[in-house]
């Protein structure tokens, strides 16, 4: 009898568990790893799950991995919402793999700055960051003012730039190219200018957080890097400061999109709505040191010293994502052959 009771209880618990998970819909969200995923959980997932009763499972990766996955599963995506860099969202849009966002299903659409919307509403920018100069104020007495400062002999062997496979590497290259008189159609000046700089770089970094150890050990004192990463590192006690070059920082616009063919379009829209909400955006900004696209969000003073805003935002260069998508392979191949060889 006791056995039967135990068995019955076990079955009941199991059934309850199964039915609960069958009832709660699961939304798969592609997000970048590390602190980004933690912040998505804290700012968006918790509120979303509470409001809808659905559960969220995060799939971690980077933008180009997500673009590759969306193409490979074309029409039958294994993700319902994806965080992805706007140039790669433009690429998947070019391949007709994005579902058009229905603004009528997004209650916060009206609060979002108009420039955040991708072509044909195929994606929406979710946050604003940049590539700027990050330096160690203990070792660099006068803050850098220009992208060209990396060639300054005082930094010889004490700086690092990113490989072109990372956003900061690509953007620093394009910023240098512009400063040297190049255009997006002609990057010859940039290639010539970056050759000696790449050669003298302590390392061509491929992972953003590679720089943490280099800054910490004093191997480098300056690098084109992300203010958001710097902000988080400063919180952890690293001696770092952000300088916005006079030529203007280069804007980074991570976006959210819904891959075409998802069976949970309504739920996916609700998640995007959460991402765009003033509450979600404010939370993410504070935690990640990143700019918001919801006009109702006010940045604290602590954030204003780091996040692109006001003058630094006005001067920032936002490169057309379609132009980036079309040219990245060509630029990368030239970089591999002429710069990193």
């Amino acid at each position: 009898m006791r056995h039967m009771l135990r068995f019955a209880t076990a079955t009941a618990i199991l059934c309850a568990g199964l039915s609960a998970s069958a009832l709660a819909e699961e939304l798969v969200v592609g997000a970048f790893g590390g602190s980004f995923a933690d912040n998505v959980k804290a700012c968006h997932v918790a509120a979303f799950e509470k409001a809808t009763g659905a559960t969220v499972s995060l799939k971690l990766g980077n933008s180009s991995q997500f673009a590759a996955a969306i193409r490979a599963t074309a029409g039958k995506p294994d993700m319902d919402v994806v965080f992805i860099d706007n140039s790669l969202a433009a690429q998947t849009q070019g391949e007709k793999l994005n579902e058009k966002l229905d603004r009528s299903k997004l209650s916060h659409a009206g609060d979002v700055i108009p420039t955040a919307w991708g072509r044909d509403d195929s994606y929406v920018v979710a946050m604003v960051s940049a590539t700027a100069l990050v330096y160690n104020p203990k070792l660099v007495k006068t803050p850098p003012t220009s992208w060209l400062d990396l060639s300054d002999p005082q930094y010889a062997g004490k700086y690092a730039i990113g490989d072109i496979s990372g956003t900061s590497g690509l953007q620093y290259f394009l910023a240098l190219n512009k400063a040297k008189g190049g255009t997006l159609e002609n990057v010859d000046p940039g290639i010539e200018a970056i050759k000696p700089i790449a050669k003298g770089s302590a390392v061509l970094y491929t992972q953003a957080d590679q720089l943490l150890a280099l800054f910490e050990r004093g191997e480098i004192v300056i690098a084109p890097w992300y203010p958001d990463r710097a902000g988080v590192a400063i919180d952890k006690g690293l001696s770092l400061a952000v300088a916005y070059p006079k030529e203007g920082a280069v804007g980074i616009l991570p976006a959210v999109m819904i891959p075409k063919g998802t069976t949970k379009s309504d739920l996916a829209h609700k998640f995007v709505d959460q991402v765009l909400s003033a509450q979600g955006q404010g939370c993410f900004s504070e935690r990640a040191y990143i700019g918001a696209v919801n006009s109702k969000v006010q940045l604290s003073d602590k954030l204003k010293a780091i996040v692109p805003n006001g003058e630094s935002l006005d001067k920032a260069w936002f490169i057309d994502p379609d132009v980036i998508a079309k040219n990245v392979p060509t630029w990368t191949r030239r970089w591999q052959r002429e710069v990193a060889r």
């Binding site: 690429q91 490989d163 302590a202």
Partner: protein, 283 residues
């Protein structure tokens, strides 16, 4: 002799798995490798081109990467052979009580994840790594040696990782060499060195060949270690293929490179097995 039917039945499970999960997917890539990729809009449906292949043979960057990959495969194989043979000989012919501990020592590194082992090499080989710091502290060098992002780093890392495969293959082969034949040669007046070079070494050729092919193929297709120790400046075929697929999203180009790598591997295996057979008198 085993009947053909029994033989077929025995290989059927593995053959089916290989066909279903390896051969078919690989063949599905073949059309992709003749496709055209337009950045920004993706693959153009219905357009076929040979350009992905012609680019590989005309572009001196790809050629450099191909030669580098083959050279690396050759060097790592030779290094594993030279380092592994004495060890395998000791395991096969040394004191009985040493055998198990030695084999355990050989296998032990394989219990550790590849990423961890490669990361360990980074900690040792970087500019401010253990090796350079030690040499500088000892006053042997004044500026750090470049041990990473070049051939040296990849050689060290890959040789370490693939040495166990070579040793295990060689142990089995050396154990198969009949001691009687060696004794016969010695009785007929051969010196110990002569016995080794003219009897033991050729008779262990199948093991040398199997180990070398295994290490060579693993080396030229290795991705994780070259990515970590070669970095963005020192690329091999596998890392270039990864970049084409995952970063540039140019699948046609990546597929063409993949097929080139596969054919190179098959050609090298075919050639080396013919040469070895001739040397060992098996042909």
């Amino acid at each position: 002799m085993m009947k053909t039917r029994t033989g077929l039945m025995l290989i059927a499970p593995l053959a089916l798995v290989l066909a279903g999960f390896f051969l078919v997917p690989v063949l599905m890539l073949l059309p992709t490798s003749f496709g055209e990729y337009l950045p920004g809009s993706g693959m153009t449906p219905g357009v076929w081109t040979l350009e992905n292949y012609t680019r590989i043979v005309t572009d001196d960057y790809y050629l450099e990467v191909i030669w580098r990959t083959l050279g690396l495969g050759l060097f790592v194989t030779l290094a594993c052979l030279v380092l592994g043979y004495p060890l395998a000989y000791l395991i096969a012919r040394g004191p009985q009580s040493w055998r198990v501990p030695l084999i355990l020592l050989v296998v032990f590194p394989m219990m550790l994840n590849l990423v961890v082992r490669s990361f360990g090499w980074i900690a040792l080989l970087t500019n401010r790594g253990l090796v350079n710091n030690l040499l500088i502290d000892l006053g042997l060098i004044s500026t750090p040696l470049k041990l990473m992002f070049n051939l040296t780093g990849l050689m060290i890392g890959l040789t370490h990782i693939y040495l166990p495969f070579m040793v295990l293959m060689l142990v089995a082969a050396i154990q198969n060499v009949p001691r009687d034949v060696e004794s016969a040669a010695a009785t007929l007046g051969s010196s110990r060195i002569h016995v080794f070079t003219s009897v033991t070494l050729p008779l262990s050729a199948p093991g040398i060949l199997a180990g070398s092919i295994l290490v060579f193929v693993l080396t030229i297709s290795a991705l994780v270690t070259p990515r970590m120790l070669g970095g963005p400046t020192y690329k091999v075929m596998a890392t270039v293929i990864y970049d084409e697929y995952m970063q540039l999203l140019d699948w046609p180009s990546g597929s063409a490179l993949s097929f080139t790598l596969t054919f190179m591997a098959i050609a090298v295996i075919w050639l080396s097995s013919r040469l070895t057979k001739r040397w060992a008198g098996m042909a």
